[in-house]
């Protein structure tokens, strides 16, 4: 009974924790401009994150050590520092975007300018990391983030022409205003948003925080293989709401407040309140995860004591590093940079860093010295190799597409 409850809780938190500001914004933007014609990119991204997250979780559960420690040990400090630099910078950018997302969501509740909320959001993140138990932190953020299911409810309440949505997903949307390069820019952005590197680092380090062993492999798989795809459906629901209400009126999403229009139309104030609470939880949860991931990556690379399972005094450098990252994030946002633009850029740069993140995980997951009998099977390696090709293509195309399209303008 207790085990079933644990599995169910893990799946629910994985669903609620899947959507972050990157998924929210990118899916809403894409839905308002391309309808569901880029739904395939979400599906490809979700399958990819499932493949590599379950691999990272298995590595952590079997070896009892987080991915980054093993990458450094297995590939040496020179290769690991490449991985570290790329992942850390993307993570910092994502952290900035998530704090901006919390502040924007709080502005929707209060109409107080989001810039005034930014320091409070960062302070709240630090307090939670400092004081709250890992499992409580993860479960509360994930479960409240589950309120984003309101987008799926909203989509049903809008009574869309399902046939038309299906046609968009299969045949695409004919639009005179969008270019082919912009279409592919957003395909890469959606892929990057679904496969954001911090998710894997957090998943792997979280497994060590919670003391997972080989006995927990089934739960780890269930969390990833059931929770993440259902989270991906939420992403599609966000795009669907925008496709039904905003696309026909030629409204392109540039602000979080516009994402609320289909929700208000579908379910009025009640659904709006549910969704805003869900957005606060999802972005705050992702801010916690990215802050912790910043600490995890550097501390694991440098061999510092890390983890929330240790009292802060025993992992002082780990905690100090997270505080510095939060200050950098807040400082960046207070310059007045648009959090939505930070989000859009961060998902594109995520795509650039993907090969550096996922190739080492694949190498470690195939090393019998660490994995024993739990090394990757042939089928999984086949899928992972196909994904490495896709990841490489996305990484190569990301920056040229960013420049050609002026960041999707």
């Amino acid at each position: 009974m207790k085990k079933s409850f644990g599995v169910a809780l893990g799946i629910l938190t994985a669903i609620g924790g899947f959507v972050d500001i990157g998924d929210l914004v990118t899916n809403a933007v894409v839905g308002s401009r391309f309808g569901l014609s880029l739904g395939w990119a979400v599906v490809v991204g979700v399958i990819g994150i499932c493949v590599f997250a379950q691999m990272a979780g298995r590595v952590a559960a079997v070896s009892g050590r987080a991915t980054f420690e093993l990458i450094r040990e297995r590939l040496g400090p020179r290769v690991a520092v490449l991985n570290l630099s790329a992942s850390f910078m993307i993570n910092l950018m994502t952290l900035t975007a998530e704090i901006g997302g919390v502040a924007l969501a709080l502005q929707l509740v209060s109409s107080v300018d989001y810039l005034l909320w930014v320091p409070f959001a960062a302070l709240a993140v630090w307090l939670v990391i400092w004081r709250v138990k890992f499992s409580i932190m993860e479960n509360v953020a994930g479960l409240v983030g589950l309120l984003l299911i309101g987008f799926a409810v909203g989509l049903f309440l809008l009574s869309p022409d399902w046939g038309e949505l299906g046609r968009q997903a299969v045949q695409g949307v004919s639009t005179d205003t969008e270019k082919v390069s912009t279409y592919w820019f957003f395909a890469v952005a959606l892929f990057g948003a679904a496969m954001t590197p911090y998710e894997v680092f957090f998943f792997s380090s979280g497994a060590v925080e919670e003391g997972w062993t080989e006995k927990d492999l089934a739960q780890s798989r269930a969390n990833v293989l059931v929770g993440f795809p259902l989270g991906g459906l939420l992403s599609l629901a966000i795009a669907g709401c925008a496709a039904v209400v905003l696309l026909p009126q030629l409204i392109s999403v540039t602000a979080l407040s516009q994402v609320m229009l289909p929700v208000a139309m579908a379910g009025g104030k009640l659904l709006l309140a549910v969704i805003i609470l869900g957005i606060v939880a999802a972005t705050a949860g992702a801010a916690l995860e990215t802050t912790l991931s910043a600490g995890y990556t550097i501390a694991q690379f440098l061999g510092w004591p890390w983890g929330k399972f240790r009292p802060p005094a025993q992992a002082a450098r780990f905690h100090l590093l997270m505080i510095i990252c939060l200050i950098v994030g807040v400082g960046t946002l207070l310059t007045g940079v648009d959090p939505i633009q930070v989000t859009e850029i961060s998902v594109i740069f995520s795509a650039v860093a993907l090969p550096l993140t996922y190739l080492p995980i694949l190498i470690v997951a195939n090393d019998p010295e660490y994995m024993g009998e739990h090394v990757n099977g042939q089928a999984l390696n086949g899928i992972a190799l196909i994904y490495l090709v896709i990841i490489l293509a996305a990484a190569i195309a990301a920056i040229p597409l960013l420049i050609i399209t002026g960041a999707g303008q």
Partner: protein, 144 residues
């Protein structure tokens, strides 16, 4: 044909090509700014309608109108540096600028009314600005 004639022909062709591509780029910039303006005005009208129907909150509507006012101002700024290569481009830019400025005024007025009175009197000015933007937009798209 003498070599000097070839060179002159080449220069004239290049000049015409550059002129055409400059005009096309200017039209593209105008369309982009007007599309942003259309999106901002349509969002504002929809948000006010939903607020009147009590389907959304004042905070969300105020935030949206503030966001859209910024987007309109950005669209207006984007029109200013558009280079004028011909009288036609100048006429197009002036029409676009007038439409977007009407939109900026309408969105700002709506936002201020909501902040001060808790309601927007009517959306007539917004709708009129929206029609103005759409008219210039379809004219430019038709000419492409």
């Amino acid at each position: 044909m003498r070599p000097s004639g070839c060179v002159a022909g080449l220069i004239i062709s290049l000049g015409l090509l550059c002129g055409c591509s400059q005009q096309a780029a200017a039209t593209e910039d105008l369309i982009h700014a007007l599309s942003d303006a259309h999106s901002a005005i349509a969002s504002s009208v929809l948000a006010i309608e939903l607020y009147d129907q009590k389907r959304t909150t004042r905070a969300v509507t105020e935030t949206l109108l503030g966001d859209m006012a910024e987007q309109m101002v950005d669209a207006e700024r984007a029109l200013e540096p558009v280079s004028i290569a011909s009288e036609q481009t100048q006429a197009d830019r002036d029409a676009a600028l007038a439409a977007v400025q009407a939109g900026v005024a309408a969105v700002l007025t709506s936002r201020d009314q909501l902040e001060q009175q808790g309601a927007v009197d009517n959306t007539a000015a917004l709708e009129s600005a929206g029609q103005q933007v759409d008219a210039v937009l379809s004219q430019l798209r038709g000419g492409q």
